[in-house]
Amino acid sequence: MCLTRVDVRQQPAVHKEGVPQRLRDLALMRRVRDRLDREYAQPLDVVVLADGVRMSVGHLCREFRRAYGASPYSYLVKRRAEHAIAAMAIGAEQSTTPIRHAGAPADELQRV
């Protein structure tokens, strides 16, 4: 995933003093989810996602599932489907991009 103008590593720190670890982890997952929403049409790269919040891929996937009830990949597929349906509903030309990515390329599945 490449970012044009938003570098998540430069986003403000969530490690506020006195905030329980659970809430700090949730705030990091919020960053990850916002990034997935922002870049939903790009191929998923969980290594880059994990790197963005300085976590291992395994830890990221566990925490994300705990927070949102789905793996980053499942969440992204749902989001893409929503975008595709919404785009079709209004007859937008852009509908082809989310639809194309709603099908899971094999290399994405292997990385999740």
Binding site: Q11, L23, R30, D34, A86
Partner: protein, 136 residues
């Protein structure tokens, strides 16, 4: 009927951080500020619009909210699924640049949505979703 929308509510988890965001980054006026510690009720709003305010308040201060419910609310705030507000500005791109330069947490860069709106989005320090539309 003559009803206006006077005050909307967003939760904070750190009153000073939220105050800095709404006052110093968005440029809102502070109209009232009561309470102390984390139990602060702060009313803010855009200059020139004294009849429209946002109340920044602690999230689970209502005594009818159970401890479990309070924990859920605080967790939802942290994971970014609780508070939400829609603002509008005459130049969404300039507003985005200014907010991003301030170090605010970006959700979405200025984007032409398929439904005909250009908008961008940020998180406030409490995790609330602040979406900003280009005013038509």
């Amino acid at each position: 009927m003559d009803i206006t929308i006077q005050t909307s509510y967003l939760p904070h988890d750190d009153p000073e951080a939220s105050l800095a965001f709404y006052r110093d980054v968005l440029g809102f006026e502070v109209r009232s500020d009561v309470g102390q510690g984390n139990m602060r009720w702060i009313t803010v709003g855009p200059a020139g619009q004294p009849d429209t305010s946002i109340l920044l308040a602690p999230p689970a201060a209502d005594p009818g909210i159970t401890d479990d419910e309070g924990r859920t609310i605080v967790e939802m705030m942290a994971k970014g699924t609780y508070g939400w507000i829609l603002l509008a500005t005459s130049d969404v791109d300039a507003t985005f640049d200014r907010l991003q330069a301030s170090g605010a947490e970006v959700i979405q860069e200025p984007t032409d949505q398929p439904y005909g709106v250009r908008d961008c989005a940020f998180r406030d320090p409490a995790g609330n979703h602040i979406r900003i539309n280009q005013r038509g």
